[in-house]
Symmetry: C4
Subunit: 393 residues, 4 copies
């Protein structure tokens, strides 16, 4: 075990030595990190809080269920329903949906369970591409997309419709008018964005103000220990100035359902564009052996090795705190105030349960622990100094 | 009887010596105050007037029916329907509803009676809490709430949707946009507020103007002889400046259906947060006996005793005017011009009838009587002097 | 016959010596005024034109059918339908409705005939009173009123909803927002006013501009030889400045269905507030005989006699032109450019036919004839001189 | 053959010597111009691109199907369906409809084929006249028109509603509000104009901005080698300043289905107001023979002859390029950047296929070829010099 330290924090899961489905946080190979003690059945879950999303009046649980892993191929209908039930029972009131298949499946579960519509918040997305029939982010596409989602969900309205990607070719006026239309039709309560730059969010806000449209309330953004800049530096500014909140997701919290390949775990390539994660320590060593003839430069190999060292340090710290590295990672994300809702994924109720234990870890993340973490990560983002154009003369 | 003078004016009812349901104003124990002569069946009721609510075009009767006591446990379906029928026959055209149960019951009565929709005005409320599923006053909650009300009422629209409490966590823009949406959907004709501060009302108005939304037309506020400041000092300013009118309710006029406990009547604690009312003369005496070791200070005991004296003086004045203290209290409220609609409650048609007699008392409330009342009450509100910040230097 | 010349021009009808229903313009007693030659069946009717109503894009025939007399008690269902059919066949594309009964009846006829919805323009009204259930002109009343009209008409939309009277107690913002709502719901295409002062129309326009609502396109106003000031002096200004057009009606053109009382015809008192019309030459003579003890002063008797002389002169002029006084009156109204649509009433198809002949009279109203008419009427309205407040010093 | 050179470029088709339906671009009489090689079945068609229409987010194929010829009398239902199927298979995603009959027929085909609503863009038109029932371009007419179109199309919405002609009598505010209404009702996604002047388009835009309405995205305009000024000089300015794009049609590309009269082809007179096209070389010669007594002046005859020479030169150039004159003409139009979508008509799938070959011609239209074309056409539009009003003094 652990013969091959790897670049991805996710791959720490391999340390746990479990086969088949991931067993987040039960134990890790770098020692005997025990998972947090279970407090099954306690509702609401200790540490679970409700926060206003952005500066809107909508209050959501500080963790939401990312449903993409829930309806992945390896999970049976019964398991999926069990995950949603555990989420609701745990006090989670937000389900985030990312594609058509999940909408259909969640629609069926909502019909079966008959949960009160007031009890949960559904967020789903408008996707678009330049290649498919739905070319670009047009009013036509937005409206067609939302109507199709409503049919699949068998709901009268979606709580938050998220536009998954800004379209530089589509005028922002068209987008904000279309979103206002969706809301005025009663098809949605709010709208938000995912993977938009702060300039794009600001442009949307400006257009809303100009045309008296309803402003977006949330940006969904990747956020974890190795992807911090946007969420720590720029989104808080968005929140303060225009009330757009942060719903965070990350490969760590989204409960990847990839099968483990021996002791190497690969992140799903391209799915989240997590470029810096797609290689393992094996790869580093293999490329180092090829050096200097190999395609990797010396710097890249060095950086890879430093990264592996960081992951070992994190695992050691998690052990000291009595949790799994994944639980540490989840707690670390939640510790950051801008995160109003952190999406957790799961391929089993047990896994969701494990992740929810992270909430109890928060009080233990004292300022000294947080400092220690910063020392390990060495990536606390800082704003580039503002250089006066006058000074450049 | 009257062995224990009490702090609440309501408890004067105990003087009447009746058991079971309250028999407002028939007679009171401090003498032989006769109730006003009945003029049953006369329509419209003498003294009943129609006024524009706020500066809106909607004309409502100067007394409305507060339906919360009507559908309280002790009242049968037949009695409830009789109360509503008497209200309509008396010329009352406004029914104020405060909770889901009353909506369902009124819905049934409206179906049975088949009254023309144009003949009455329904006001109902959006409630919210931080604890229930409906966490906070969000667009989601407002819309879900109103849809549910419409279903219970079996109506196509509510005349005025009242937001029961401002939510400091919900941006006012969201609230006024949601209310405009409700009205644009045809689900409501107007909207109003209840228990909002004048600053909150003003903020709502400003947001309506900024976003071209429909402004609120009414604030529902507690108003009676011992709760005067907001309605006499600040709401008239709201009316003059932004057209928001006043619909008043008070424990006196709302026909409390509490059972009497011997000669002591307790106001329903916490229901209206009428803090200054929840103790009786017994309590005062008991605490006075404990003094100075007791929890009540000397000042509080003194204030309690003075209050009891005031109540006795009021009862004496009512006797002189030939009415019950309750009738005097209702007439006194109606005498104040800012009150465009006073909500009366009732647990029986007879009680509503008694309360309506108060309308005939108004001409008898001459300026000398009103002066005498002010002398008794000693609480005519005055604005705090405006202190220049310059003067503070 | 004609023993008693009368004060009302309407009563010229008595000259025709017909009994029962009015037979407008066939012949008059002051000579042998022949009616204009019939050109039955010619479609479109000679002289019938289509004009934009106000500065809107809606084109209506220069005469519209006022349906109030059409559905008056003496007219059978077959006759009513015949009138509407003649109107449509003659090229009239506007039906003006004034009360609930006519709406129901027209609804039935429209169902029976199956005319294309695009072929006609329906105008109907929002009435209100301070006495009935529908107290004042509120959003509630406007919406309830229009919904009821649509049901009676069995139509999906009304073309123009006319607010029959301004309500000084209802804020103009509420009115223009309600009318915009009606139009946004698709229940109406346009809105207009009836019997509003130019100040009220201007206030409505200002509010529309302030709140980005749809502006009114037409004012319905009384207009005839003896009621000229508003339509000739002030409404043209409204048209030029804010695009509000004029739809005119008058007792003369509305084909009163009152029964004749021997040779005296009384206008329906109060129906149109045509104060100066409600007395006959008989009355004048009777009051002159009582003078100076009678209730009428010398001036009033003199004025009455002068008026009767005018009517005789008009009848003589009509005879010279080869038409009836009524036809002259209709043509005279149409000759005035501000009148974009003149409402004609009828209690029979024949009567409508007679009225439509007036259109052919227009070319004969040369400037010399118009001058002669002004000489007879002596009431050409002029604006009061603008007196500078400086000059008053 | 070719005994009578003709004025219209279309009439080049006669050169091809085919009888019956036009056989665009197979061969032309002035030599052996071979049609472009077929690449049947290749999807997407080489050269077919998707462009944003105007500055909207809607992406359409650079060629659209003009359906007017598709549903002309000589084309069977099967043929029509075959044309639409070929269009879709070729990657064309825009169908432009011009009259009621085509709407009904396309509605049926869309029902039969069951194509996904997201896969195609329907544009249809609001027509109006001063003569028919639908007098002028009013809110009433626009709404009635669009509702009727939706019924005929059996669709929930049209993608782009085009107003076919500006109505100088209808205020622009009414038009833009009506179009916004259409879009707010969900009956259309976008709106555009056809045959509006740039001043009218600018006025529409200004009104949209003033009243916060949705701006038009496209102007449909005639564009071909002999009608260039508006599309080359003025519409690019509209695109740059207010984002209105250009959808072009021309007699050449619209696949006229007129029967050929021997070797003379007449353009459908009046259908597109293509004044400069309605005469043939025969006519020129006939009129030249009559000269100077004939109705044509010397200049006109000269101009006619020069035009015929130009057509011969164009045909020669097409031959050199290995395509038909029609294909050259289509490619030439597409070569001009302002054309975001060129409408092609067809009366058979084969003809559409031939026209689509033109797309492969574009790379061959080098700058030297384009220069040669300009030399032949002698009509490159230039803006009139801006003359200062000062200079005029």
């Amino acid at each position: 075990m652990c013969r091959a330290p790897i670049a991805s924090l996710d791959c720490m899961e391999e340390f746990s030595g479990t086969g088949g489905h991931l067993d987040f946080g039960r134990s890790i190979s770098l020692g005997s990190n025990p998972a947090l003690p279970l407090r099954h059945g306690s509702t609401p879950t200790p540490g679970l809080r409700y926060k206003n999303l952005g500066k809107s009046g909508l209050r959501v649980s500080n963790v939401g269920l990312g449903t993409w892993p829930v309806f992945s191929p390896g999970v049976s209908d019964e398991q999926a329903e069990a995950i949603l039930k555990l989420a609701i029972e745990s006090g989670i009131n937000l389900f985030d949906i990312s594609e058509a298949h999940s909408e259909t499946e969640i629609g069926k579960i909502l019909q079966r369970t008959g949960w009160k519509r007031t009890a949960y918040v559904i967020t789903t997305k408008v996707y678009w591409s330049t290649k498919s029939e739905e070319r670009g982010l047009s009013r036509k596409h937005i409206i067609e997309c939302v109507r199709a989602s409503l049919q699949r969900l068998q709901l009268q309205y979606i709580d938050i419709v998220i536009i998954h990607k800004a379209d530089p070719m589509c005028p922002m006026e068209e987008v904000v008018r279309a979103m206002s239309y969706i809301i005025q039709q009663g098809w949605a309560m709010y709208w938000g964005t995912a993977r938009w730059s702060q300039v794009e969010i600001m442009e949307a806000y400006t257009n809303c103000r100009q045309f008296n449209c309803i402003t977006p309330i949330v940006e969904q953004s990747e956020y974890h220990m190795f992807c911090r800049e946007k969420c720590e530096l720029y989104l808080p500014e968005m929140y303060n100035k225009i009330g757009v909140g942060l719903m965070a997701w990350g490969p760590l919290s989204m409960a990847l359902s990839d099968t483990q390949n021996g002791d190497k775990l690969f992140l799903p390539k391209g799915s989240f564009k997590t470029k810096s994660f797609s290689w393992t320590e094996d790869e580093i060593n293999r490329n180092a052996a090829l050096s200097p003839q190999g395609s990797w430069g010396k710097d890249r190999i060095e950086e890879g090795r430093r990264h592996c060292d960081r992951l070992r340090d994190l695992a050691a710290l998690a052990e000291k705190l009595g949790c799994s590295p994944t639980q540490l990672s989840i707690a670390w994300s939640l510790k950051h105030e801008p995160v109003q809702c952190l999406l957790l994924g799961a391929t089993s109720a047990e896994q969701l349960h494990q992740s929810l234990q992270s909430l109890q870890l928060l009080p233990r993340l004292s300022s000294s622990v947080m400092l220690e973490l910063e020392r390990i990560l060495e990536n606390k983002p800082v704003r580039p100094p503002m250089i006066s154009t006058l000074a450049l003369r």
